[in-house]
């Protein structure tokens, strides 16, 4: 009789104050493809990799580049050779120290072509990386390890965003050699340790008490896989989720019922309609400007997105160097649009096909654009496909207009100007407008090579102004994220970039304290 009582007391003591309630609950809408960071081609994989692993550099919640495994780094006068100095106190979850050789091996692994379907491109700027990836070289020429705590990376050509590329989850540092079954049960050095993964169900992580950045405040973090937004909301209402994202259509209801729990952050994301500048009358800049003047973007933003967006004044969003708050968006002016079309020799009845994927909010945007363009004599046919089919067609140049969006991989103006508008990226690379403008090309290249931050910002502004003037898109808006944080949870913020929230400062309030 005494034994059960004793064990009950032990259990009670263990639970006292802290207890099982110190598990944070987060969710993804679909299962990550892998827990191996080399395969972080999708957002869930990238997000969970950022919890389990470290990178040389990192983004904080505001998207600023901060030290990660590297405490400091420098670039030489040529802008091609970067030297990273590693911290001495970092260890993998199995206790082994993180050394420069692990960094070199991790990078080689990501670039190794036998690792099919991974994400090697963030490391392609390194000298000899492409040759190694293509199987033409046995070593990556640009990687050198002078000692255990230093790694020297030489690039093909100067590239000022390089330290930001090393904050992407694909370049995370993994142990050498990687253990068997690594993609299902990973060993990293990040703030959270892997505990379990039940596919399409939940991933459980536990705090890493030895993390160099300070152990997480909570004991564990469970990431549920919940695809349906209404189910997410139901879980949140019952306290089953620490945070939840609010769908655009639910904005008003949540503002009314959960106001104090809500957080907003303008995203570094573009919602836009790419205009294929290589197709028929769309090659004429006057026609493209006319399209911009013909769409009532302000009204659309209010009705479809409940005002959750900042009008685009170019491709660079607020919060990114080069954003120009003084530039006025294209004004809604159907008369001007008709005049521009007439000047360009376009007769009423011009037929265009607008492609879109199946997202619910895209349907309403596409319909509104269709109506607005009909007012200026343009007949729009909406072509709806799943995302992958739509993109495949657009890459081949088959679409006149394409309603889509762009999430930044890293917060930098270069990530907007170069992939989206440089002629080298026409079609396949992300330049769905097929823009080929020598001036944009030259500005975009100078922007990514200049070592001078002030000069970079000036170039970003100039590039964006030129892009805005050429109107390769119907510029729509930069969406604003809206999340709720549960009253019993504190310390969570919407990250500016998907891998910028590592949950280390998030805590659950003890039962006895009043909720926020």
């Amino acid at each position: 009789m005494r034994l059960p009582l004793l064990s009950a007391l032990v259990v009670l003591a263990a639970c006292g104050g802290t207890g099982p309630s110190r598990t944070l609950e987060y969710y993804f809408t679909y299962d990550p493809r892998s827990l191996d960071p080399a395969f972080s081609t999708d957002v869930p994989t990238g997000e969970v990799a950022a919890l389990l692993f470290d990178t040389l550099t990192e983004f904080d919640a505001d998207g600023r580049l901060v030290p990660g495994l590297a405490t400091r780094w420098s670039v030489d006068a040529t802008g091609r050779t970067y030297t990273f100095h590693l911290r001495a106190d970092a260890t993998f979850h199995d206790g082994r120290p993180v050394r420069a050789a692990d960094v070199a091996a991790s990078y080689r692994r990501v670039l190794d072509q036998s690792l099919l379907g991974g994400r090697p491109w963030p490391l392609f700027p390194i000298l000899g990386a492409r040759a190694f990836n293509a199987g033409e070289a046995r070593e990556v020429a640009g990687i050198a390890v002078p000692d255990d705590s230093t790694i020297v990376l030489t690039l093909e050509e100067p590239l000022n965003i390089f330290p930001k590329l090393l904050a992407m989850p694909a370049t995370a540092i993994v142990p050498t050699p990687v253990p068997e079954g690594f993609d299902q049960a990973p060993v990293g050095s990040g703030p959270w340790r892997f505990v379990s993964w039940s596919h399409d169900d939940a991933i459980v992580l536990a705090r890493n008490p030895r993390w160099w950045g300070g152990a997480p405040a909570a004991d564990s973090l469970r990431i549920r896989i919940i695809p349906e937004p209404l189910t997410q909301a139901a879980e949140y209402e019952r306290g089953g989720l620490s945070v939840v994202e609010i769908p655009f259509g639910e904005t008003r209801r949540w503002e009314a019922r959960h106001g104090p729990e809500l957080q907003r952050r303008p995203t570094i994301r573009d919602l836009y309609i790419a205009i294929n500048t290589a197709r028929g009358p769309l090659a004429d800049v006057r026609v493209r400007r006319a399209l911009n003047h013909a769409v009532d973007v302000g009204a659309l933003l209010e009705t479809v997105m409940a005002g959750r967006g900042a009008r685009a004044r170019g491709a660079i969003p607020p919060g990114i160097a080069g954003y120009d708050a003084a530039r006025a968006p294209y004004a809604y002016d159907p008369a001007l649009a008709r005049r521009l079309l007439a000047e360009a020799g376009v007769r009423p009845g011009l037929a265009l096909r607008l492609w879109r994927s199946q997202r619910p909010e895209y349907a309403r945007i596409a319909q509104a654009v269709q109506q607005d363009l009909a007012q200026v004599g343009i007949q729009v046919e909406i072509v709806q496909r799943d995302a992958s089919s739509a993109r495949a067609a657009v890459r081949k140049g088959e679409a006149d207009l394409f309603l889509t969006d762009w999430y930044a991989d890293y917060p930098d103006p270069e990530n907007f100007t170069f992939p989206l508008f440089h002629s080298r990226n026409a079609g396949t690379g992300g330049n769905y407008a097929f823009l080929k403008d020598p001036r944009v090309d030259s500005l975009a290249v100078r922007l990514r090579t200049t070592p001078d931050e002030a000069e970079k910002e000036r170039l970003a502004r100039e590039t964006d102004a030129r892009i805005f003037d050429l109107a390769p898109w119907i510029f729509l808006w930069h969406p604003v994220d809206l999340w709720a944080e549960h009253p019993r949870v504190t310390g969570w913020r919407i990250p500016a970039i998907f891998n910028g929230q590592r949950w280390t400062g998030v805590r659950i309030l003890p039962e006895e304290t009043p909720a926020r």
Partner: protein, 306 residues
């Protein structure tokens, strides 16, 4: 009975080969690029070209089919483009969850459906019968998605009796099982009612009553077994479809089953995963149909000998 079984099994081979061909071709007819889905939107063209070569996607269709057939015959459903894991392993990991949900839904459907149906046949036009008929019409008409969300709102959010999602114990099973079983409850109830009424009107039942048997014994012992045939068919078909097609229910309740896997595979253009799933689920479906036929033959010997 043995001959019946042999014939039914022999028919499986051409059926499954047909499924294989259709599954293979379907995905090539569908638009979209699996390689893009695999490496993400921002992969460079060289990586895409190399990958397409290594996955044999640049070879002629018959050659691709031959490669595929060779693997399938050896029991290898291939490797997912997206997760890089063996597809059969991924399906088998998720199948127990789907089976659990299907069995629970079946239990709900059979119990409630039979109870309501028997009550209706026994006391036609009574209050229970009329309410059940109305309920059956509604149960058949409401879309699964709507039913699931309403159940979550009522029982998980408002009343807080049951969890809205997850799969960690019996309480988590209730809402998805009712959602999934809803349609069958209605169909089984209507089927049972009609068949039982017919049986109760037949001569042997009149004889049984004439011999002074109690009403419960007449209905359950003499009427019901003769009314069960169509009900078994319906339950069997529904069970097969639960095992293969509970995509909506699994999505609403975050149930980690095969349906979600198929949905993700389709969305991501994960060609081999979709093909493998179709094949796997076809085998399951055909197998359940076979079991249904056997149960049918057992319940009515004329089927096996006919």
């Amino acid at each position: 009975m043995t001959r019946f079984l042999a014939v039914r099994l022999g028919l499986l081979v051409p059926t499954l080969f047909g499924v294989l061909v259709v599954a293979f071709l379907l995905l090539y007819v569908a638009p979209g690029d699996p390689v893009l889905a695999m490496v993400g939107e921002r992969a460079d063209p060289e990586t895409i070209t190399r990958l397409r070569r290594e996955l044999h996607l640049d070879e002629p269709l018959p050659a691709q089919f031959a490669l595929y057939l060779k693997d399938v015959v050896r029991g290898d459903l291939g490797t997912s483009y997206v997760t890089r894991r063996p597809i059969l392993t991924e399906l088998l990991q998720r199948f127990p969850a789907t089976l659990r949900l299907a069995l629970a839904a079946m239990a709900v459907a059979a119990t409630l459906g039979l109870a309501v149906g028997i009550q209706g046949a026994w006391r036609p036009g009574g209050l229970v019968d009329r309410a059940a008929t109305l309920g059956a019409y509604l149960g058949v008409s409401f879309p699964v998605y709507w039913v699931g969300l309403v159940l979550i709102l009522v029982f998980a959010v408002t009343l807080r009796w049951l969890p809205p999602s997850g799969s960690w114990g019996a309480v988590y099973l209730v809402l998805p099982a009712v959602t999934l079983g809803m349609r069958s409850i209605a169909v089984v109830a209507r089927m049972t009612r009609a068949a039982l009424q017919e049986a109760l009107a037949s001569d042997f039942v009149r004889t049984a009553r004439a011999k002074g048997l109690g009403e419960a014994r007449v209905v359950l012992r003499h009427g019901l077994p003769n009314a069960l045939l169509p009900v078994i068919t319906v339950l069997g078909l529904d069970f097969g479809s639960y095992l293969t097609g509970s995509i909506l229910t699994e999505t609403i309740f975050s149930w980690p089953g095969v349906g979600r896997y198929v949905l993700t595979a389709i969305e991501k253009r994960d060609l081999p995963a979709v093909q493998g799933s179709i094949l796997f689920l076809s085998v399951v479906f055909v197998f359940v149909n076979l079991l249904t036929d056997l149960a049918y033959a057992k319940a009515d010997p004329r089927v096996a000998h006919g």
